[in-house]
């Protein structure tokens, strides 16, 4: 879907709207935000980005920072690729996408190091590994290369937010039952420990994250039966 060449070509808004007449949050555009949350969730339906969902969900704080970073990277790179989509030769599009994503990731990494050094150290390599997150490249290939800037932004934001939603959900369960904390603050009252309660060490191991993701998928599919593959 190339930008429609209308007589309003001088209008700067043309960059951000595929059709002049369409409102910013039309029904179609809203679906870009809401679809990834349920029917088309990147983790639970497309099963992408599972690696990071296992690796950085021990603590809620890390998961939240990761979510924000991925939202920044995906929105920005979707917008940039969408802007460049008519200029990128088809045969080298992957490498162009890679360069764009890598630059965004480096930017995010530097910002984190400057303003949130502790978290950045905690997340260590995983911020850099956003480059390899299949969701990022997947949305660039599947959406940004063929859609307008505003829609691409919404798509990137929506998918990253939906990814982050699952990440935060898993991290919430793991931190609560694994170490009895939320955001590093003890939340399970002392008297429960005195009654014999123990933190669940299994929650701190990554297999448990996989099981939690599996349980989320189980719940989602028994709620929304259209997602179940026939076979």
């Amino acid at each position: 879907m190339a930008v429609k060449k209308t007589k309003n070509i001088n209008n700067p808004l043309i960059l951000f709207l595929s059709k002049n007449s369409e409102p910013l949050f039309s029904k179609k555009n809203k679906a870009l935000l809401s679809d990834p949350m349920d029917d088309n969730n990147p983790i639970t339906v497309q099963v992408l980005g599972v690696c990071s969902a296992l690796a950085i969900t021990v603590q809620l704080k890390a998961a939240i920072v990761m979510t924000l970073s991925v939202i920044a990277v995906m929105s920005a790179s979707n917008v940039i690729i969408s802007l460049l989509r008519d200029l990128i030769p088809n045969r080298i599009r992957i490498i162009v996408q890679l360069v764009v994503v890598a630059s965004m990731v480096i930017l995010v990494d530097q910002v984190l190091r400057a303003y949130a050094y502790d978290v950045s150290k905690e997340l260590s390599i995983f911020i850099g590994l956003i480059i390899t997150n299949c969701i990022v490249m997947g949305r660039l290939e599947a959406f940004a290369l063929g859609n307008g800037v505003w829609r691409s932004f919404l798509d990137g934001f929506g998918n990253a937010a939906a990814y982050g939603f699952i990440l935060i959900l898993v991290a919430f369960v793991r931190e609560l039952f694994g170490s009895g904390n939320l955001l590093g603050i003890p939340v399970i009252p002392e008297f429960i420990y005195e009654m014999g309660y123990e933190n669940n060490g299994f929650m701190l191991l990554s297999p448990m994250a996989l099981i939690i993701v599996g349980v989320i998928i189980w719940i989602q599919r028994s709620r929304n039966r259209t997602l179940i593959e026939k076979g």
Binding site: G196, E198, G201, M203, P207, G214, V215, W218
Partner: protein, 385 residues
């Protein structure tokens, strides 16, 4: 047939169209404990054996009883003998029972509640598989584990190990071992170390409750036990795993009735024996130089191989596959014991690992059979005359 009539009367409100129709699976489950269901096949010529799943499960439970009773005895025996007080056989059994009966009760109540809930919710009959699992789970736990941990492990095993895959017969992992693995990784301080194997060891000074494998893993070879103790089972360990003799009696029951696969059992023993012998020759750490015959008798090897590796759902199904599966269970068991000091007992992880690979083994056994027969049929027939 008076009992039959009474049950039929009680059953009325559960029949189709009546008010408690939804809870029929729960009632039928209780009914079929007493009577073989009177289903008949409607198509084709099938013979229904009176030995249905429930009767099979009861056979396994009978085979488990010697080990269970010895486990109760050993729990009390370990406790009193290390305290240096006078005790009688009744004291020993009483102490063991007060520890173990609540665990079995918790396991059955939690597990069956979840099974019944799923049966009612999904509208199918209650599966019998939990009868054995529910008894196995307490038998492979350390005696002092808090009851709520038993309950949680059971819930995890039934939810994630079984129902998530579709219920009895669909699970890829042995549910009892899933429960134990969950407890092992979730609450390691209650599942390993030297304080958990003898009841109340952590409250009483002077009780040393380290298992043999645990002592060896920490490099201590001054074992206070003779091979005869290991065979009879008067050693610390999980509740019912210690006595090789009682497990062997159970194995005989399983093999005689055809419920357990002797190929898997024998395969595992051969696999473990060969691996143990090779390590005996190498012998650079305590576990390697621990005699291979002792390796077969300590820890949960015998119990796991007889009662859990032979689980007909999660084990290999083909004849050749059973041999391969068994041999590898034995091999990995000794391998994990010897090379990973964090897991002095390897049989749980070995069986779970091979559960995962069982379908792959079966696949290649069947493929090779197909290939062999194709080759044979494609050969030109020379001396037809």
């Amino acid at each position: 047939m008076n009992i039959r009539n009474t049950i039929d009367n009680l059953k009325k409100p559960f029949n189709r169209g009546e008010k408690w129709e939804k809870f029929a699976p729960a009632f039928n489950a209780l009914d079929t404990f007493l009577f073989v269901p009177n289903h008949t096949t409607k198509h084709g010529a099938h013979i229904r054996d009176a030995v249905d799943l429930k009767r099979t499960m009861i056979t396994v439970i009978l085979a488990l009883l010697p080990a269970l009773f010895y486990g109760i005895y050993n729990t009390g025996y370990q406790y009193f003998s290390q305290l240096n007080v006078d005790y009688t056989f009744v004291d020993v059994m009483l102490h063991g029972s007060t520890k173990i009966v609540p665990m079995i009760a918790v396991s059955y109540i939690v597990g069956l509640a979840i099974e019944f809930a799923f049966a009612v919710f999904r509208g199918h009959e209650v599966n019998e598989g939990y009868l054995v699992t529910g008894l196995l789970i307490p038998m492979i736990m350390p005696v002092d584990i808090p009851l709520w941990m038993v309950g949680l492990s059971v819930a995890f095993a039934v939810f994630i190990g079984k129902e998530a895959f579709g219920g009895t017969g669909m699970n890829i992992l042995n549910p009892a071992l899933t429960a134990r693995a969950f407890a092992f990784f979730a609450y390691p301080t209650y599942m390993s170390g030297n304080q958990v194997w003898v009841s109340e060891a952590s409250n009483v000074d002077g009780v040393s409750g380290e298992t043999i494998l645990g002592m060896l893993a920490s490099g201590d070879n001054s074992l206070p036990y003779q091979p005869m103790d290991m065979f009879m089972g008067s050693i610390p360990g999980s509740i019912a795993e210690t006595s090789t003799l009682m497990v062997l009696i159970g194995a005989l029951v399983l093999i005689y009735t055809g419920v357990g696969s002797w190929r898997i059992m024998l395969g595992s023993v051969i696999g473990a024996a060969i691996t143990g012998m090779l390590f005996n020759l190498w012998g650079v750490n305590e576990l390697m130089s621990f005699s291979w015959t002792n390796h077969l008798m300590v820890g949960g090897f015998a119990f796991g191989v007889v009662f859990m590796a032979t689980d007909p759902v999660s084990a290999a199904q083909t004849v050749k596959g059973k041999w391969i599966y068994g041999l590898l269970v034995g091999l990995f068991c000794i391998l994990i014991r010897v090379f990973n000091p964090a897991y002095p007992e390897g049989v749980m992880l070995a069986i779970l690992l091979m559960n995962v690979f069982a379908p792959t083994i079966d696949h290649y056994v069947i493929e090779s059979n197909v290939k062999r027969r194709l080759n044979r049929s494609n050969k030109p027939i020379v001396n037809i005359a």
